[in-house]
Structures are given as structure tokens and as C-alpha cells.
Amino acid sequence: MRIALFADIHANQQAFAACLAQARELGAARYVLLGDYVGYGADPEWTVTTVMDLVDKGAMAVRGNHDNALGAPNETLNLEAKVVIEWTRNELGPAERQFLTALPLTLSEDDRLYVHSDASKPSRWRYVTSPDDAAQSLFATTARITFCGHVHRPQLYTVGPGGSVTAFTPMTGSPIPLLPGRRWLAVLGAVGQPRDGIPSASYAVLDTARRELIYCRAPYDVEEAAARIRKKGLPGSLADRLALGK
């Protein structure tokens, strides 16, 4: 079976729609959503109702720090993110807000763990940006594969019998065999606000039969997404950075 995994959609309708369409073409039969559905982008309502619909049909979804901030005004966010979350709160109905803030921090399925930030302290929203960060997460769980987002840059970590952690920057579209003899931490890139210098939307597809992970990119209408951010009166820098992928 092929599972499509999405992280950090951040209310970017154009990006998320492009990813969903491409994933369907790749034969994805199941969806996993790794949090941060809102914040930064101009279309929180469309995004959250789409996610709710997917969850209704069996998708798995966990909560991200931006989603959490809707219900926890003390959540530490940068200034721009705070501005957008205040705006988002009014864009969403009570049902949508309730849906997001009630999502679990982690979910497990077979030998896999889904979490927004990392497995060691999901509610602390730690960033995994180095092999040492990855080691903390890898040693905090018995799951063979952990999927997370939060960093907005795709990266893959693995720990083998020797105990040292290898970091790898994946190539788009090149399947990576997740060898069963070792454990893996897959940090997904962002759907809605990539920060690895490539503007196209980032997500991943796991082929459970072949035990292969494919990091994917979906090109989308960046200008439209940026124009909508400006039109809604959100900070212009959030629109500008989409075209730069950072």
C-alpha cells in the first residue's frame, strides 16, 4: 500500500491541492497528516475542512504547534505567526477550531509513529535539525519509522546496529529503501511553506510493500497563493518567501 504523508500545510490551498492530486496519481490509498494545518497561509477554512473530510474517510492526523496555538494563547510563536493565528481564529468556525485543538499529539500504526515535532517530547515542539536531535527522538521510541515535520526541510535520519546516526538529504523522486534492520526518522518538508530553497510543495509517499520512502515535490501556483496572502491583509513577507522557498 502507498501512504501519502503531509506536514506543515499552513493553510496553503494551492500547495495542498497540488500535493493531493499528485499523490492520488502516484497511487496513494491512505493519508497521514502531520500537523500545522493553519498559520502563515490565506486559506485556513478550506484547508481545515479538507483535512476534516480526509480524517472522516480514514486519514490519520496529529496536532502541530500552530494548531495548538488556536486553543492555547500562551503558545510561543514568532510575531508573524502570532498575527496570523489571531486572524485564523476568526476565519474558522467553532467546529473547525475544536477539531484542530482536539487532535492527538502522536499516533501509531504498525511499526510507525506519527508526530509533528519529535518523539522525545511531542508537546515541547523540539526541532530536529541535526543527527544529535534525531538521536534524541530515535531513542525515545521503539517505532521502527518515525515521521515528523515542523522543520520545513526534508531530511532522513537512520540509526543502525552500531548506534551512530546517519543524516541524509533526500533527492526528489528517488525511492529510499527503509532497511528493516535499522530504525528511521523521516523529517518531511513542508507542503505550504518549504524552506529548503525549492518553492514547490514538499511531501512524501511510503510504499509499505516495498518498504520504500519517496520524497516528492508538487509544483503549484505560488503567485496565486502569495496574492491571496496579500489580499487577506496578512504580512507581505509571508507571501514573498513562498517564491523563494525559504
Binding site: 546496529p161 552500531g162 546517519t166 543524516a167 529510499i176 528493516p180 534492520g181 535499522r182
Partner: protein
């Protein structure tokens, strides 16, 4: 019933494979001959040594093979039949290649120069194929080179290899460089695992060894001994064998350059030189009779700059930036405008790719009825005339000598001759002109159309600029108004 761990021993059956015989017990892995009722080709099962307290490199090396081998294809790699589950019993079943590895030839060394070059061409061709599949072997040595009955080299053992699109488990797991001491490149000793030219260094060691019976950097496995190759140049082969051909010394010493940038940029370019000894551009390397004086070597040893420049990251784009470009030049009368256009097109490509090389090709057509193949006096001078004419054609390009070769092919069918040349020399891109004379084209068939249809590489068909007065160019009236096309 409990799931017992399957035993690897003669007579046992694992996933349908019956273990027939142990054929090799190495430090890292064991090889068994296996059979399966539905399969007739001979097969080998490779299993890592995973015993308690065993070498962890054995496991990681095996994991790398499990990742890399199923992704490879082609004649230069053993065909994979099955990969076993690591959790139960890790193994790889692959085709068993007939014959023995190149290791068996060690007692025959030194080999004749032509044979060394022929072996070198085959290994370089295999490396080129491997590199194009994003794999750097990093353990090229005689025991890892086999041959198919059809002659192609097959490279085995990918336990130390690096795949440019997969995580490198070896790099992080082990701080010490892994490889085979006599063949390891200087950059490998420094921990660099992503430079394709490391394989060319190892092949250079093999060529040196096979042509002189001496290993250029000895056999020391101690770090200090291995590191000598960073600053101490090898004894020039000509000092060991006075009749050593300068072209071969040029090639071998270029492979053994400490700086990867001074070696061949690609395995294809190395194969090209090995298959065209008469076209190898000889430099000071080919003349060397002695090593550098010790004072010079010692200065190198303590020169930090050299050590640093080696560590500069290897380029994954080496092949695409160092292609072999061929151009088919028709020297018949009346081809001048076309040949100018060909030169312009070649110049544009070469200008952007400083490591690209150009092979100029002309076909000397043999009549179908001419069975006399031997070059008579007249034929030989015709050959030389054409070689001179090709050099003359290329002269305005002002290429350095080592970037230019000229070739006259003799053939009944020019298109086939060009296609053969393209295939045998791993040409990346061929330029050729479209014959303008429609009568000739009807009589002879279009060479460019056939090459464009059948060549395994990029083909550019060049036409001379339209002159506007030969009836081909549309007149202004026919062409319609200038400007952007409207929505008609």
C-alpha cells in the same frame, strides 16, 4: 511451531533456495552456491557474518549492498534474483558469473601492454556505466572484477560503495576509511566517499600493477604507509620497464594523480584514451623516468594547501559536464557552408563545458564491390589526407590538444560506421550535417536520419543558415506579417 532462525549450511533450504556448496568464506561474508527448481542459471547466495562480536562493518556493508544492488541494471553488474529479510536471515541471491576474477591473473604479471589496455577499457566502460547509475564503487581491485563470456567486465562487491541518491551508512558509522589499502585513492584516505574519480585512481593502480608487476604505492595497511601516496609520487613505469609505451604511462600516471581534478574527468574519457593510444596527448607525464626528488616530495608533504584542495567536495555532475562530443564531418566538395555551421554548433557546446572533449569523425566510404580491404599506397595517403583535413576543420575551435581527436572510419555504410563509433566510444552527443542535395539523399539514404533514429545518445542535426535565395526560405509575402502570432 516456532519460527526458528534458518540455518545456513549445506542441504538447508531458505525461501526456496537450496544451499549446495560453500564457495567462499571471507572476513565480511560467506558465499554459497544455491539452486532452485524453477531456475536454471547458476546462482550464488551471499550472507553477511553477523555473529556476536563480529565486525559491524560486515553488517553495514551488507546493508549497503542490499540497498544498492537491486537498483542497478545492465551487463556490468551481477543480476539480482532475491534479497532476504534482514530480520530473519539476511542474504542476497545473485547470478553466479562463470570463470574467475581478475585476481587469478596475478601470477601472469606483467601482462603485455595491449592486453593491459584492453582490460582497462573493459573496466572503465563498466565504471562509466556504474557512475551513470549514481554509484561509486570505491573498492576496484582485481578480485572484484569478473568477465562475462561475451567479454564485458562485471564489477562485484558493493559493500563499500556510495550511492549518490541513498544514505551513506558507511560514512557515519565508521570513522576510519574503508577500502583496500593498495588501491585506495588519496581522498578516500581522507574520508571523502562521493568523488567518482576515486574509482579511476583505483583503476590506475590496477593498470600500473598489471603492466609492471609492482604496486605503485606498496601494500602497507598502516595509516602512515597508506598516506604516503598523498605526497610521494609512484616510480614512473618506464623506470621499471624501459620499453613501457609513453601513451600508457601518460594514461596510468594521469589516473594516479593525487588531485582528483588532474585525473580523467570521467571513466568514459579514460576508456576513450585507452582505446585510441595513437591519439593520446603526451605530456611531461609520459616522459618521466624518475620520481620527483625527495626534497620536492617532502615539500608537498608539508604543504597544507594541497591537502585542503583534495577535500573539496566531489561533483556529482562530473559526467554531464565532461561529455565526449563527436562531430561527423563530410569532407566532400561543396560541404563548406554545412561544415562551418557544424563548427559553430560544436563551438557553442564546447564553450560551456571545459572538460568536454571533441572527436572529429569522417567516413572513408568503401565501394560495395571492393573486397580489397588492405590499404594500398593510395588508400593510406587518402586516410592521412582526411586526418589532416579534419584537423584543419577543427583548427578554428582552438581546442587544447588533449581535448581533440580525429578519426577516419572505413566503411561501406557510413551511418552504421558512425553508430558503431558512437556506441564503442560512449559518445554522449553527436553532431552531424543534413545532406542538402535531395538527389544524393534519395540515392544514398539519409545518414543523419538513421543516426538520429538509432544512436543511443543525443543527436544534433545541423543545417547551414538559410540564404533566402535558394527557394527554401519563405518570401516575406508567404511568411505573412511579422510580429507575434495572433489568435487566428
Amino acid at each position: 511451531m516456532t519460527m526458528a532462525k534458518p540455518l545456513l549450511e549445506v542441504g538447508a533450504t531458505i525461501d526456496g533456495f537450496r544451499i549446495e556448496q560453500c564457495v567462499h568464506q571471507g572476513g565480511m561474508a560467506t558465499l554459497w552456491r544455491v539452486s532452485r527448481p524453477d531456475t536454471t542459471i547458476p546462482m550464488l547466495m551471499k550472507a553477511p557474518k553477523v555473529a556476536e562480536g563480529g565486525d559491524p562493518a560486515a553488517i553495514v556493508g551488507f546493508e549497503m549492498e542490499q540497498m544498492i544492488l537491486p537498483r542497478l541494471g545492465g551487463v556490468h553488474v551481477p543480476k539480482i534474483i532475491a534479497v532476504g529479510d534482514f530480520a530473519l536471515q539476511p542474504y542476497i541471491v545473485m547470478e553466479a558469473l562463470p570463470g574467475k576474477s581478475l585476481y587469478r591473473r596475478l601470477s601472469d604479471l606483467p601482462l603485455p601492454y595491449a592486453e593491459v589496455a584492453a582490460i582497462g577499457v573493459k573496466i572503465a566502460a563498466a565504471l562509466d556505466d556504474l557512475h551513470r547509475q549514481h554509484v561509486i564503487h570505491l573498492d576496484i581491485k582485481p578480485s572484484n572484477v569478473m568477465f562475462r563470456p561475451t567479454g564485458e567486465a562485471v564489477l562485484v562487491d558493493y559493500g563499500l560503495s556510495h550511492h549518490e541518491q541513498l544514505p551513506d551508512l558507511m560514512k557515519e558509522e565508521f570513522r576510519l576509511p574503508f577500502g583496500t589499502a593498495p588501491y585506495m585513492s588519496p581522498e578516500q584516505l581522507l574520508g571523502v566517499r562521493n568523488d567518482r574519480r576515486s574509482d579511476l585512481f583505483a583503476l590506475g593502480v590496477l593498470l600500473y600493477f598489471f603492466s609492471t608487476r609492482v604496486r605503485p604505492f606498496g601494500e602497507s595497511e598502516r595509516m602512515a604507509g597508506m598516506r604516503r601516496r598523498l605526497w610521494r609520487d609512484p616510480v614512473p613505469p618506464r623506470q621499471l620497464r624501459p620499453d613501457y609505451p609513453p601513451w600508457l604511462q601518460e594514461i596510468v600516471l594521469r589516473c594516479l594523480e593525487v588531485e582528483p581534478a588532474w585525473r580523467y574527468p570521467t571513466a568514459a574519457q579514460l576508456a576513450f584514451d585507452l582505446s585510441h593510444p595513437d591519439q593520446v596527448k603526451l605530456t611531461k607525464r609520459s616522459e618521466r623516468q624518475q620520481r620527483d626528488p625527495l626534497t620536492v616530495a617532502l615539500r608537498r608533504r608539508f604543504n597544507k594547501e594541497i591537502k585542503l584542495s583534495i577535500i573539496a567536495p566531489g561533483q556529482a555532475t562530473q559526467i554531464s559536464s565532461a561529455p565526449i562530443v563527436a562531430v561527423a564531418v563530410d569532407l566532400a566538395e561543396g560541404s563548406l557552408p554545412l561544415n562551418d555551421a557544424l563548427r559553430t554548433a560544436a563551438a557553442r557546446i564546447l564553450a560551456t563545458l571545459p572538460s568536454a572533449r571533441l572527436a572529429c569523425v569522417n567516413v572513408l566510404k568503401l565501394g560495395r564491390v571492393t573486397l580489397d580491404y588492405s590499404l594500398d599506397e593510395q588508400g593510406r595517403s587518402k586516410q592521412i589526407d582526411r586526418l589532416v583535413a579534419l584537423r584543419h576543420w577543427a583548427e578554428p575551435l582552438k581546442l587544447e590538444q588533449q581535448r581533440l581527436t580525429v578519426h577516419v572510419l572505413e566503411a561501406v555504410d557510413p551511418a552504421n560506421a558512425i553508430l558503431e563509433f558512437v556506441g564503442a566510444n560512449r559518445i554522449d552527443h553527436i553532431l552531424l550535417g543534413a545532406r542538402q542535395d535531395s538527389l544524393l539523399r534519395n540515392l544514398l539514404g539519409s545518414v543523419s536520419a538513421k543516426v538520429a533514429a538509432e544512436a543511443p545518445c543525443t543527436v544534433t542535426v545541423v543545417r547551414p543558415a538559410r540564404l533566402g535565395d535558394n527557394g527554401h526560405a519563405p518570401s516575406p509575402a508567404e511568411a505573412g506579417p511579422a510580429g507575434p502570432a495572433g489568435p487566428h
